[in-house]
Symmetry: C2
Subunit: 191 residues, 2 copies
Amino acid sequence: MDRYDNAHIVLLHHPVYNKRGDVVTTAVTNLDLHDIARIGKTYGAKHFYIVTPLDVQRKFVDRILSHWREGYGAEYNPQRKDAFDIVAVRSSLGKVCHEIEINGTGKVRVVATSAAVSEKATTFRSLRSIMQREGGDTILLFGTGWGLAKEVLDQADFILEPIKGTTSYNHLSVRSAVAITMDRLFGIRDR
Amino acid sequence: MDRYDNAHIVLLHHPVYNKRGDVVTTAVTNLDLHDIARIGKTYGAKHFYIVTPLDVQRKFVDRILSHWREGYGAEYNPQRKDAFDIVAVRSSLGKVCHEIEINGTGKVRVVATSAAVSEKATTFRSLRSIMQREGGDTILLFGTGWGLAKEVLDQADFILEPIKGTTSYNHLSVRSAVAITMDRLFGIRDR
């Protein structure tokens, strides 16, 4: 596989905003796991990291993973088992970055996503060409709740442009945002 | 808005296959409603039709819709109210087609989606250019469960090519498939 494909999806549950703009820790949802694991697998992501500082939440994810990887679920639905191969749970973004730096191809770029328009934003096209040209690992950061906290955006190497549809409505679920982002960056299409 | 944007998303709960290949009626899931309504709204779909022959299921959807359109949900999350504006519940695909024919722009093309490779498949690019050239209404049919029954595929005017990622894994959730399909057909991008 092309080195440009060294992508790691990270779903952050802290620090993110709630509806009122406070920095909070959101709950992990079962469906994010299933949908995003399948998207990651489809587009060749190396990992799908679920990041939460809450021990009890990490245990919850571990229980789901073992059901689908080793339990009855693995027999019932082998395709889901395959998708869950790429899933890992970590307590912080720092730990994820460190792990990828140690095991990876050297350079690690952190790309934050946001539904907000930003002057610093990088287009899908230019991120794709940077990845193709420079290789290395790419961490694609997605926020739950009302989006990634400012400190995460500030520390990222790139902020990806928001997904534009054909209307001014920009309230996609994080699952849909991951699907469209992966397709725009890695999808093979004839146009 | 351009006439090419007269798209109607249809999520079919019957006739679809189950895991064993039997034709069944699947249950409506709350999350399909939320995610796909938001996708439809983002990409300017005229409607998102939920189709199920089961009266009790249609009532279930109506309850959810009225919570978010008129109930506490409308006040709590106005963006969700906006997305639910495009949602409608019908008992059969025939009724949806008839309704669009009567209210629409004349020509109605029915486009089925499938994860299976088919010789008859139309590419995303060519469907996009057909819509732009010919105008009219486009019904985009998505199956729940293990996909649309053969009789639905046989009656469609077009079968859209499967979504290809960068791997041979092709088990996206229907929510992800709708997100990527709408982005490929209607998304505005700079490449």
